[in-house]
Each structure stands twice: as C-alpha cells, then as structure tokens.
Amino acid sequence: MKRFIGFLKKEFYHIFRDKRSLFILFGMPVAQIMLFGFAITNEINNVNIAILDKSEDVTTKEIINKISSSTYFTIEQFIINEAEIETIFKKGKIKAVLIFEKDFSKNLIKENNASVQIITDATDPNTASTISNYANSMLQKYQQEVNKSIEIPYQIIPKSRMIFNQELKSVFMFVPGVMTIILMLVSAMMTSISITREKELGTMEILLVSPLKPFQVIIGKVVPYIFLSIINAIVIVLLSIFIFEMPVQGSLLLLGVESVIFIVNALSLGILISTISATQQTAMMVSLMGLMLPVILLSGFIFPINSMPEILQVISNVIPATWYIIILKGIMLKGVGLAIIWKETLILVAMTLFFIALSIKKYKIRLE
C-alpha cells in the first residue's frame, strides 16, 4: 500500500508539472461549457427578415406590428416586388421573407382564407426550419386572438407545450453532451497518453522490472484520473446550475454514481488504447478519432439518433456515450430515477466490464 501511495504521488507530480495537461484538464471543461452555453445555440434571436406586403391593409399592419415587437425577428426592410427576393437572399443578411397576398384582409373576411408565404434561406437548414416554425406559430397566435370573438362551431386548436425544457434553452441539451465529451477526453485520452509516455521514455520497463505488479502500475496510473474526472464532473454541473440555471431534477447521488461508471468505462478504453499504441502521439490520435468523433457525431449529443441511417444507428448503440447521455438527460432534465433508466445503466455497466476485461487481456498479451 505504501508503494502504491508513492506511485500516486509521482503521478500527481507528473500532472501538476505539465502545464499543457493541466490546461486540458481544467481549462477545457470551463471553456467548452461557456462556448456551448453562450456562443453555440439553436435558438434564434433577432433574425433579420424582409416583408413584401402586397395588400397593406389593417390586418397585415397588425401582423407586421406583432412580428416587429417580438425579440425573435427584426424587420430589416420592406420590399415591393418578388424580383427583389433573390437579390436580398444572395446578400445574406436577410434570412427570411414574409409575403402577404393581395387583398389579405378582404380574403380573410369574405372567404375565411388568406395566405402568407414564408420563404427562408435554407443554406442553414436548421435555422431555416426554426425560423419558419416561429413565424408559423406567431401567425397562429394572431389568428386565435382575432377569432376569440367569433364563434366557430368546429375547430381543432393544437396547443403544444414543450416539457422538460420549457424555454427550449439549447444549453440544457449541450450540458449533458459536453460533460460526456470532457469525461471521455480526460479519462480516456489523458490516461492513454500518460501510460504511453512511460513506454516512450522507457520508464515502463523499469516499473515492470520492479516488484510492482503490472496491475498496480495500471491502477496507479488510473486512480489520479478518476479523481480529476470527478472534480471535472462537479465543476461542469456547478457551472451549468449557477451560470445557465440548468435544473438538476433528479438525484445528485445517482448522477454521481452513473458518472463514476462512465468514467471507469472511459478509463478502460484509455488503457485499451495505450496497449495498442506505442507513442503518445498515436495514443492521442486514436483517442481523438476513435473516441471523440463518435461521441460528438453519433452519440445523439448534437444529431438525433432516430434520424440517422440505420447502419449509423447500430454504431451509435455500441458507443457508451450514447447511453450515458440518455442517463444524464433523464436525471438532469426529467428527474427520473433508477426505476426508469435501469436498462441504460445496465448496458453501461456491461460495456464497462467488457472493456476492462478486454484491456486486461490485451495488457497481458503485450507483456509476453
């Protein structure tokens, strides 16, 4: 045990004396959360739009007023004919054009039917569909207000409500993802690098010739990163609670336990990577390509898994991060307990055990 503590002390010296790894360890989580929280967002705000009002009557004026008073849209300019539309889109500042048909009011009253065309710049499809949704719902709202006085015998009014994230804050979606990425990065990449560094320097040989057992060496390498990952997870959760007012509905204890499972999972992946790579650089590349990219692209962090091609859906199912993100979202946003997410937890535990077994096996083979 005393040998082991000496070993841990040495590991912490390594970590705290290497400015670069310190930065990755503690700078990255904060930077990432801030970046995703403030800069990268799916919400729309002050989108510049143009309006082509062919009727210019009371109703269209009212609607235009409503739109301009909202924070979502800024009416940048009024245009007078369709020919202008293409030119202004090409300039790029205007993201959407609203076209009111001729005799809008009249049609509305006489035929109970008037139309507005919404044209959006779909070079960025996500923003385009969000803009069109927002514009749609504003028009609907207006319709409901006008219709209040009029009795219509049959009408279906959809009233949708977004639960678990009422304000549709995108930071709520990013926090679980960023937490997953950071834990993966710190645990898998940093451990694999720190193990391959000893290989590269030749000190691994010295350790293996010493009475320390190989598994003691590995545990000694891994334990500091478990500590640091836990600290990181706590920092991320605190930042998201206090800066982004993200609620943690479920049990913090459960959140902690699940995170430790995921951390151990990532660490065993890190050991696995270190057994197949001879240099720190290879270890870093393998971690980035083999772990980070799938986590970002395929785990459901940014792109919904349901809309992926089937083959990618299958791949996404074997990525531990996929399950951890489901668990995180469940606990943080929905406040569910183990009764609901036991299946995901079980999958995560099974994967963890599998990777531990695999890395031990690989490690032994390498020694012979």
């Binding site: 040998r3 070993f7 040495k10 010296y13 390594h14 290497d18 030749g202 010295i206 010493s210 009475p211």
Partner: protein, 242 residues
Amino acid sequence: MKNNNVIKAEKLTKKFGDFTAVNAIIFEVKKGEIFGFLGANGAGKTTAMKMLIGISIPTSGKAKVAGYDVFTDPENIKKNIGYMSQKFSLYDDLTVKENITFFGGIYGLSRKEIKAKRCQLVEELGLEEIVNELVGSLPLGWKQKLAFSVALLHEPKIIFLDEPTGGVDPITRRQFWEMIYKTANNGTTVFVTTHYMDEAEYCDRVSIMVDGRIEALDTPKKLKEQFNVNSMNDVFLKLARG
C-alpha cells in the same frame, strides 16, 4: 563453486513464431563478476536479458537468477535485481530527491532507509546543489550516474545494465566504469550489455552472441589468444562476420 553462480542459464530459448531470437544459450555468471554480454544489434541479447529479469517468459530451457527460477519465481527475482536501461529511466519532471524517494518506495524501502540512502548518495556523488533540481535539467552524464545509483538503492544481488553508456562522452564513460568496478568490489554482480569493444576489455568475462547463439565465452585475454588477435574489437569482427 556451484553456490557461487548467481545466474545460471541452461538451453534458454525464446521463439517468436518461427523466429528463434535466443537459441538454447548456456552460461553461468559468478558472484561479484562483471559479465559482459556482447552481440550485434538483433543478435538476441536484449531478449535474453528480458528473460533473465522476469519480464519475458522463455519458450524453453531453464534459468535461475539470484537462486530463483525464471519460470516459477519471477517476483522474487525482481526483488533481488536492479535494472538500468539505455534510456535513462529516471523521471525528467521529478527532482533528484523525488526520483530517489519514488524508486526507493517501489522497492519497499522504508522512509528511514530512503533518507539514509539519499544522504549517502548525495555525499558520494556530490549532489548537494542539485538535489532539488528537476532531473530533466541535468547533463546526460549526471543523469546516467544517478540512474545507476538509483538502480542500486535496494542493494540488489545482481545489476543488469542494458547498454548503459550509449551516447555519453569518453570521460563520463570512464567514470561510469569506475562506479561499476566499485559496485562489483562490494560483491554485487554486474551483467552488462554493450556495443563498445573497449568496454568489453574491462569485463571479467564476456560472451558474444551471434544470431541467437553464444559463440564465444571467456575472459577477454583468453578470447584474444583463442582468435589470435590483439583486441576485443577484432574478436568481435571475426565472429560476427563468420
């Protein structure tokens, strides 16, 4: 005489697939001897050494190191040997003191013993001024002497040196060999691989490996007589060229 052998290899063999890296080598090393283990690159000396220090399992044959069997008792071997490789094997980002403490610690020395050893080392090597410096900032020669002393911290019966003098200047090499002599005089067996044939002359006995086999084994003087040449360099060239 038999009890005097600290290393005894009998037909020790290591195969990687079809390739035989070490082919049934037979040799003995006596206590307190400086045993030179020579061979060209790829002749199998590193593989042979790895089997003796317990990090590679032999394919067949027998070997005892410090009285323990390499198959059944590698753990006890590890406690009784020291090892220094061609890469300097200390941590650059730890200070001299921290390195000593760490390596003393993994060999199970108590805090008191480590402190005593450290003071002794500091005095012998004149380290007073650099004991709290990072090892990375020291000149190569210093690192090497320090690595050697650290490998001896736990007072092993045998010390294995894998090309310990690669890349250092002749003066430092000379000083290093003085340290080796001193160690051998204190009763520690020194098992050293080297490329430098002038160093082979300093050894009590040398073995020369060619293609996995030991082709010659004797004192430098007798080897030179046997091959009828003037230096170990010529002995080596004669053997290696077949």
